[in-house]
Amino acid sequence: MTTLNDALGLKVTDAEAAEDTAVGNAVEVRHTATIDRDHRETVGEIAVENPRMVCRGVDVFYDDKHAIKDVSLDVGCNEVVAMIGPSGCGKSTFLRCLNRMNDTIDGCRVTGEIKIDGQDIYDKGMDVVPLRAQVGMVFQKPNPFPKSIFENVAYGPRIHGLANNKADLEQIVVTSLQKAGLWDEVKDRLDQPGTGLSGGQQQRLCIARTIAVSPEVILMDEPCSALDPIATAKVEELIDELREQYSIAIVTHSMQQAARVSQRTAYFHLGDLIEVGETNEIFTNPRHQLTEDYITGRFG
């Protein structure tokens, strides 16, 4: 067949042709992102118009290790923010700062400012128990209590004193299970153990448990990585519905998942927040070279 070189009348030596094939990147587009790899200040708009949580200049140390470096980011009302990045980039650490889950880790020190509705959550007078109801969390592995399905959801409202009587409590349990899309599947066996449910159902039970204490923000740390694709799809559909009432920050290793569920995406790299932007922008035309390397699968 006639090749371009023939058609253009260019003479290509065998050596050159061999080199072309060996490199195999003749038309590879390189360095399309405009900001090079050494740049460490966050690219993109960290603030949103309608913030629920505001983080400014957050640093986290594990003893001497500087795990999060001067990260500023807002979590808006009714939005899903996805945090992506390679292992050890600090995305989970940052997520855990948002409801002070790092307090339980020895040697962990958090500096900077993290506010929810204008109130600093690291303030001396802040009680972490109501904070963790206000900012709920769903973990990678579903972790229902070894109790009945009903008790799993009722436990939170009961200890936080959210229900005045039994009828109230039942109403909260039912509503929470409905919101979590689990009601139809469990309504006939509320007294059976939560641990007897399938993995996907257990995860939705944990989400129902989180919702039951009327949070404003839900943090999700790889909520689907232990689930099969169908259960994952159900949780993702649920995330989309929950967005109407809550703010959601999700850490995920699946870029496709980040692309599917979030409105904004934040890319972390070695403790730095490299780039934040509209999810569409990040996945079609990222500005930072590191972001592009990561999402296109070019990290060595």
């Binding site: 067949m1 006639t2 090749t3 371009l4 070189n5 023939d6 058609a7 253009l8 195999g24 990147n25 003749a26 038309v27 590879e28 587009v29 390189r30 360095h31 399309t32 992102a33 790899r37 870029m255 496709q256 692309a259 996945f283 079609t284 035309n285 990222p286 972001t291 592009e292 390397d293 999402i295 296109t296 699968g297 070019r298 990290f299 060595g300």
Partner: protein
């Protein structure tokens, strides 16, 4: 891993697939460029066998186009390309369509040459066909530039081609005026003039396809907003009072 990140994907097979498909697009470009040049040579030499060979070879580019489309679908399905990879896949997919059309236009030109010279009646005068040579050179030049810009990922060249003034368009307008005067002078030339006009129209289309290709290159490298920018520039150039005019690049007539 020892390779620096810019060397390619962690999954090397992915690199190989993208590389193969982009080389195939180049090959297809070379093919349709050759078809166009051959058709024009057949006209110059009044070589009917050569013109026929262009018509006969049209299917090669189309088949290559189908093969490239299949490869692109496979890359999308299996690799889930993102960011620049995604833009590359989209750009290549669009490029294939334009290249196929170029091939179709070349075959049309060759067919027209067969009807210009293949019948017993008198051959057209050289005055009549002069426009074809002039426009042919311009169209081939544009296509060649587009393919070179693609080969070397030269966005500057691509931008000049995509957004610059088109000599070919101007030449096309004056060719139409000249051809009309030939009919006014001698109505018997009408058959030849029609064929000539169809050929220059095909050449004008080839130029448009070359500009589209250049536009895809800019999109591939720089991301979104290219087409929008172009339309905006056109709108500003036209000024506010004028209605948006007919633009040959916007209407996509299917392959003949």
């Amino acid at each position: 891993m020892s390779r620096p990140p810019e060397e390619g994907h962690t999954v090397r097979r992915y690199d190989a697939e993208l590389s193969h498909v982009s080389m195939s697009v180049l090959e297809m470009g070379g093919l349709v460029l050759d078809q166009t040049q051959t058709a024009l040579r057949a006209l110059r030499d009044q070589d009917l066998a050569l013109a026929r060979s262009v018509v006969d070879r049209d299917h090669c580019a189309n088949e290559l186009g189908v093969q490239i489309d299949e490869e692109l679908v496979s890359v999308i399905a299996r690799r889930g390309p993102l960011a620049r990879d995604l833009r590359m896949v989209i750009a290549l997919s669009k490029a294939v369509t334009d290249l196929e059309r170029v091939g179709d236009e070349a075959a049309k030109i060759a067919g027209m040459i067969l009807s210009l010279y293949g019948q017993s009646r008198s051959h057209p005068s050289t005055h009549l066909t002069r426009d074809i040579y002039v426009m042919g050179e311009l169209a081939v030049g544009m296509l060649r530039q587009a393919l070179e810009a693609y080969d070397t990922v030269d966005t500057e060249k691509a931008e000049v081609l995509a957004f610059g003034q088109s000599e070919l368009d101007a030449e096309f307008q004056s060719a139409l005026r000249r051809q009309a005067t030939f009919i006014l002078e001698d109505a018997r030339t009408v058959g030849h003039v029609i064929n000539t006009v169809l050929i220059v129209k095909s050449l004008e289309r080839i130029g448009d396809h070359a500009r589209n290709l250049a536009e895809y290159i800019v999109y591939m490298v720089k991301g979104q907003g290219v087409r929008h920018k172009l339309n905006e520039a056109k709108r500003l150039a036209r000024g506010p009072q004028e209605e948006p005019g007919h633009d040959a690049r916007e209407d996509d007539d299917g392959p003949a």
